[in-house]
């Protein structure tokens, strides 16, 4: 097998002189033989592999055949490119040829894979002149070359930045965790890599709602992990048979395994553990009337601050509250939520004006257990009637006053 070395440039050329010496009096490959070039996908250029040495007139004729309808000739039969896996080295079945496009450019046959060659994988290109519908190439042997795009230096290891909710005491009917990572993670492995353990370190049996499509944010750095609602809701079989996932008074640890690969395929820097104790169930809906509002002062850019009697959903807090000025226009500014998600503050881009502002609250805002302002997580219809808010928003007015003179 021809061995190759990676040159300094991005072009790799492997010259293979065809075994049968060509007769110069007839058409066919030039005397120099057939050469396969690998082209890495650096510098914004696509990955490609090319065959050089087919006579231009032959290339043109073959090109025309491949474009006829229906095509009477397929380049992929003559010049397949495959991924080489371990079982092939051991004589395993040949894998299907990689999807891509074949073109003739500058007297070369060029194959561009639909997806760039992946670093670390071994690719094999085979040019089979004997399969060309041209008599003059029949006596030439196949040429095969392999290529591996080198692995880039490993990026700094990805780590778990934090897990929300942050508290060390969480309600036993907790609905979800948010796992924040320092870089995008790979998908399809979450439920294998995260465990919830009891005080003795034993993993709980299927505590999470395992979904086909994992709940990632668009950047791939935040995963929402829902605790199985069938074991949180009362009156459903999973909870009746197995009991709730968390029980008040007991200690638990959420463990994120180091083995979880990030989007580049590298494991995490280290495993992450979050220990907490379960407290009593939270069955009270968040109610803006119970929020403590600390209004800002006019002509300043100091924050408007809210303090909640219980932690609310850290993620939703960042988008569920909007400030309207006395004219009813949205105020631009910066939202901050403290780690415990009990305090929300807003710094306006421009100083506050004197007057009556409104804080508009999206009623879908939830607490840690899925009770929203609009509706509780579950309604006991035999119990006292729970108010249900049908509107999408509710308002909390606050007054911005001029600064008192000392």
């Amino acid at each position: 097998m021809t061995r190759w070395k990676r040159s300094l440039g991005i072009w790799l050329a492997i010259a293979v002189t065809a075994a049968a010496a060509p007769d110069e009096s007839r058409p066919g490959p030039p005397h120099g033989g057939l050469v396969i070039h690998w082209h890495d996908s650096e510098g914004g250029r696509p990955s490609a592999v090319e065959v050089e040495g087919i006579a231009p007139a032959d290339l043109a004729a073959l090109s025309a055949l491949s474009r006829s309808e229906p095509p009477s000739f397929h380049w992929s039969r003559v010049f397949p490119v495959i991924v080489v896996t371990g079982d092939q080295a051991a004589g395993g079945e040949e894998r299907p040829a990689i999807l891509g496009t074949y073109r003739v450019i500058d007297a070369r046959l060029r194959f561009e894979p639909r997806f760039p060659f992946e670093p670390g994988l071994k690719y094999r290109a085979t040019f089979r002149p004997s399969r060309l519908p041209l008599e003059s190439y029949r006596s030439f042997k196949d040429i095969t070359t392999e290529f591996t795009r080198p692995l880039p230096p490993p990026p700094p290891p990805t780590s778990v930045v934090r897990v929300d909710p942050a508290g060390e005491r969480l309600p036993e009917n907790l609905l979800k965790f948010y796992l924040h990572f320092s870089a995008p993670m790979s998908r399809g492995e979450a439920y294998k890599r995260v465990t919830l353990r009891d005080a003795a370190g034993r993993p709980l049996e299927v505590p999470f709602l395992e979904l086909g499509e994992e709940l990632w944010d668009p950047s791939g750095t935040r995963l929402t992990l829902l605790l199985d609602p069938g074991r949180i809701k009362r009156g459903l079989k999973p909870r009746e048979d197995l009991g709730p996932i968390l029980e008040s008074g007991r200690g638990y640890t959420l463990v994120v395994s180091r083995e979880w690969p990030d989007a580049t395929g590298h494991p995490l820097r280290e495993s992450y553990r979050k220990s907490f104790r379960a407290g009593p169930a939270d069955e009270v809906q968040p109610d803006p009337k119970t929020w403590k509002v600390a209004p800002p002062t006019a002509d300043e850019v100091g924050p408007l601050s809210l303090t909640f009697p219980e932690p609310l959903d850290q993620a939703m807090l960042r988008r569920a509250l909007t400030v309207l000025n006395p004219l009813g226009q949205e105020v631009a500014g910066q939202v901050e939520v403290d780690v415990s998600a009990t305090r929300w503050s807003f710094r306006p881009a421009r100083p506050w004006l004197t007057g009556r502002y409104q804080l508009v609250v999206d009623t879908s805002l939830e607490d840690l257990v899925g009770n929203s302002i609009a509706r509780p997580f579950e309604v006991d219809i035999q119990g006292p009637i729970t108010p249900r808010i049908e509107s999408a928003t509710t308002s909390v007015p606050f007054e911005v006053r001029a600064k008192r003179l000392p």
């Binding site: 990689i98 992946e118 990632w216 791939g220």
Partner: protein, 357 residues
Amino acid sequence: MLKTRIVTTALAALVLAGGSVGAAGLSKGTPDWKSAGPLAFGPKGVLFLADSQGAAIIAVDTGDVQADSAAGALKVEGLDEKVAALLGTTSKGIVITDLAVNPASGKAYLTVARGKGPNAAPVLVRVDRSGKLEVVSLESLPFAKAALPNPPTKERAKSESVTDLAFVDGRVFIAGLSNEEFASRLLSIPYPFADSSQGTSVEIYHGAHGRFETGSPVRTFTPYQVKGESYLLAAYTCTPLVKLPVAQLKPGTHVKGTTIAELGNHNKPLDLLVYQKDGKDFLLLTNSSRGVMKIQTDKVDSQEGITKKINDTAGLPYETIQGLKGVTQLDGLDKEHALILVQTPTGALNLETIALP
């Protein structure tokens, strides 16, 4: 009991297809398909692709309307490795996200994510009866796109996942789940997509033993006919199986649905299929922990909602099909057969045809 509230005010689905609108509202072009997810077939080879990242439903005319001439059972061993090979990678570099059979041709279609990070490319793969795999290019095909509400943005970490979709009586039903709020959402968009087709969001509550009412996302559902009337049989993330009358899922109405079965512990339904055998209707349900379950549905129309506690799996009678373990995807192939995607003990994925039990 289950109560359904339809909210129309907040959500609207807008058709985004550019160019002139041709037959059935589709126009030729290349849809901007951002992420692989659930897929479902409509009439005459029209395929609906759910694109969570692009916050859209894409309708594509596959043109695949001729019945596959090759006879025999559809079977591909090591499907994941073979798909990966086509895409220039190994099975570790792909995720097969869904499987559906085109009823017009009997060919299988798979949505595949090429890559595992947030930038994974979506790919549509077709498998014919001879087991031949082919990547279906969406270039220059007749298509239309309906936007889903709340598209994710760079500034917002919120996104909506689509858990399942189906075409029923001229509407595409979409079950979704947010990565932030926990709410039950069922969206319906009339097809062909109109210029400003109104998506109807249905908020569903289901009861537990007549006492607690809760909202919960739908994990998978399937259309189903009882005495000429269309229903959706929906499996919830918290296990109840409920019946929703399609005709009543209209804006501004309150719909009462019924919990017809509770499936019990660790019973995470993955796919549902309704079929007929010996003049009776059955429901086949794949399940992460119990394998494949066969449920008699001839009692669905008379089944009273579960309103009190029953000790074992409540509601409709069911049996677990022995010998079918590791089934991750399921769809009907023809009247007598289903197509399944099975994970073998070694981790490989096989596509297999089974006789309907």
